[in-house]
Amino acid sequence: MFACIFVPNFPVAAVFRAEPELRARAVAIFEGKPPLEKVFAVNQGAARMGITPGMTKAQAELCSGLTLRPRSLLQESAAHAALLDCAQSFSPCVEDAAVDTALVDLEGMESLLGTLPEIARGIFRVAADLGLDVNVAVASNPDASVLAARGLSGVTVVSPGKEGESLGSLPVEVLFAERWENKESAGKRKEDEQKESARLLATLERWGIHNLRALAALPEVALSERLGQEGLRLQQLARGAASRTLVPVEAPAVFEEAIELEYPIVLLEPLAFLLNRLLEQICARLASRALNTQELRLTLELQNLTGADPQLDIFGIPSESDEGQSRRSSLAVGHSQSLPAFGAFANDRRPTTNDASQHFVSGRQNKFCRTLRLPLPMLDSKLFLKLLQLDLNAHPPGAPITKIHLAAEPARPRSAQGGLFLPPSPEPEKLELTLARIAALVGEARVGSLELLDTHRAEGFRMRQFVAAAPEASRQKSSTEERSAVAALRLFRPPLRINVTLENGEPIALVCSKKKEVQGSVLWKAGPWRGSGDWWEREAWARDEWDIALQTVDTVVLYRLVHDLLGGAWFVEGTYD
């Protein structure tokens, strides 16, 4: 048995999937280059108002209460991908019959998923969860199921052997389905097909053949003499007797959602609302294929700043008082946290953090890209939204947004063996959100775990992303021995510059202007211990280290002094504590 999932009025359905609030309104989709834009598809509400495909956009705009939307191939692509995801969640054998039609082979699925009506209703529910309003039909051959899905709304199950009876009342137009392809790519082929279909339809109309029952009842020989093999093929379809094998396709694992905005948005709140919708759709599609994600890519198309309205400020926002701007969490007003400045002995940035904003001009477009890399595969739309919000707060795009594109890299769900006696560890989802919040407070490069570099240079380490990986049992067993306490050093960052009194080249007293408590006479000293390196690099270093005991006001403190041999200055690097 085969199931057909058909999306009626596909371009309109793709728009409704992105903007569900438009379902109750009259909507018309237009395409083409201005000023020759024409209406491409309409919903029932717009049809009742007299809007028809082929009408110019200017004519359609005269109707009040009509919502116009440009045709978005990206939205249609996402809707088509969602359709295939829905189909693949029920069977691995899926044929991509058309952009609005998917065929599913249900062989052997009844023992897993239930009876055929239950499977059909399940498909309907999953498609609804993915934002698609579909017709589902189950029949004994693929073509019969396609005709039933196109002609009958809702869920239909055609009993084997009764295809002709079930399809008989359908109009002959259902045999000539409209193909929602891009006119530019289809080209002349679509025009020829449309002409041939129109010719056949006109012939059948002239003969008084209005439904499939009448077509099925025609004599085969006479039909073939007048309409040729195409006529016979149509008759077989009308009888529900055509048989063919499914051509299964492996649906590409592309999980992208996009939305084009009617007007640019500048605030974080409406952007978060739209991001939430896109994230929910992506997560639903991933869940239908039992996948998680480990990387999210957000691309925002920004309003072209060169043609900015003089009444607006540089970011395209209506001029208003500074007070109003500071109150709003505006994307375009400078709320970004500047990246920490790195000194001469800077730590390298973590290799797997979000990429820096990429502003590039492509023609008249500005694009702003952010990539969110997760330590583990996850599937929580609320968590993703929170992380994106924190990231955008720290790195605002700087201009109004006209289009949002979100893509997720699929990954297998993580599997972890739990245990009663394992030590406590943070939950990955909670930890990721906590780390993002901490990074928003202290800076991205100032939170993470340590990685020592292979160098003798001071501050020879870098920060990397902290991942709470599952503990390894073998590592736990080998590291139970206790070690003796190691005297630790507390560093001053940056090192404190001091004035040193020398005697025979050895420090005997020091004064620090920046920190009053670091001053006094040296009671004991050890050194110098010389170190140098990177003499072949531009940033060569050479220094002498001293360990000293300094008598302060009320106590004795052990310090490490550093004498920079290249610059000549003396510093207090840290305290032994």
């Binding site: 394992l422 030590p423 406590p424 560890s425 943070p426 939950e427 909670k430 906590t434 780390l435 901490i438 407070l441 202290v442 100032r446 939170v447 993470g448 775990s449 340590l450 990685e451 020592l452 020879g460 380490f461 920060m463 991942v467 709470a468 990986a469 503990p471 590592r475 736990q476 590291s479 139970t480 206790e482 070690r483 306490a485 190691v486 005297a487 630790a488 050093l489 507390r490 560093l491 001053f492 960052r493 050895e506 009671l523 004991w524 000293k525 050890a526 050194g527 110098p528 001293w546 005991a549 008598q551 009320d554 106590t555 004795v556 403190v557 052990l558 840290g574 305290t575 032994y576 504590d577």
Partner: protein, 300 residues
């Protein structure tokens, strides 16, 4: 016998349970709730001495000893230093421990030893560094597993101590809320005391409540005790002497160099630790002091 019942009886002037006055036989022994909730006369079954308090309605609100909630002692984990474990029994989970002392008193040494012990147990640890003073080389030398340590570096060069403190408190709140860490350390050692004292006691109380009933050890490293009664353990450290090569420099004074400076090598510190306060035992704590030695990484 429960001290609650005994003390209540004593306070009210009524006879104790152990009074020899015979009030009859009772069987089966009624529950504490029945005894005190309903003032009904006892039933004669088995010989036992029970006072006339059965009939006293004034004890209706008293919770019997058998119904008192037993607060289990917190689990103690190793601090990484055997002498410290002998002094305090270890570090308590679900409690706030303060480590205080002046500079060069061994606070960071003890902190790193605790971190090393925790990471060896397979736990994840976090250090909220108010002054960005942690030395990665010392951390590695102490045996801390670096990939299990989360380091949060508060403030930057130009930020004032108050800003660093604010960041530390907010980060601590986030980490305690997140949970799952075996040890969370708040390093306030380099903050001026007057700045650290600005942390209100309500904040410490909130931290203590957040970590209660969790397996997290909350450690605060500071110059002086600032958490008051919110901390369950207060340890005070001090430098006793430093070890240099084979010479022990016991009295640091001028001209105490015995050998040339290039022949001297700092090999360790002798630290004194005093258990100032412990709320983990019922008996009042006697001030106990121990000494432990820390070696420098190059001492071997």
């Amino acid at each position: 016998m429960s001290s609650a019942v005994v003390s209540t009886s004593a306070a009210q002037g009524r006879p104790f349970v152990f009074d020899t006055e015979d009030v009859g036989e009772v069987c089966p022994q009624p529950s504490g709730a029945e005894l005190f909730a309903e003032a009904r006369p006892p039933q004669r079954v088995v010989s036992a001495n029970f006072p006339r308090i059965f009939k006293d309605a004034r004890l209706a609100g008293v919770t019997p000893a058998s119904r008192l909630a037993v607060c289990p002692a917190p689990e103690m984990v190793s601090s990484g230093i055997a002498e410290m474990d002998a002094l305090t029994g270890g570090l308590p989970r679900g409690c706030l421990t303060e480590i205080c002392g002046p500079a060069s008193s061994g606070r960071t040494t003890l902190l790193l030893a605790a971190l090393a012990a925790a990471t060896r147990r397979g736990e994840f640890c976090a250090v909220v560094d108010a002054s960005d003073a942690l030395d990665p080389q010392s951390v590695a030398a102490a045996g801390v597993e670096l990939d299990r340590l989360l380091w949060v570096r508060c403030g930057e060069e130009s930020h004032h101590a108050e800003h660093r403190l604010e960041q530390l408190l907010r980060v601590a709140d986030l980490l305690l809320e997140s949970g799952g860490f075996g040890l969370i350390a708040l390093d306030l050692a380099d903050l001026p005391t007057q700045t650290a004292r600005r942390i209100p006691l309500t904040t410490w109380f909130r931290f203590r409540r957040a970590v209660e009933h969790t397996p997290t050890v909350l450690l605060a490293v500071e110059r002086q005790s600032i958490a008051g009664s919110c901390s369950s353990l207060l340890i005070k450290l001090g430098l006793r002497k430093l070890s240099a090569s084979e010479n022990r420099v016991s009295e640091l004074q001028e001209d105490s160099q015995i050998a040339p400076t290039h022949a001297q090598l700092l090999t360790g510190l002798e630290i004194t630790a005093e258990l100032v306060r412990s709320r983990l035992e019922r008996k009042p704590v006697r001030s106990a002091e121990i000494t432990f030695t820390s070696k420098t990484a190059w001492a071997g």
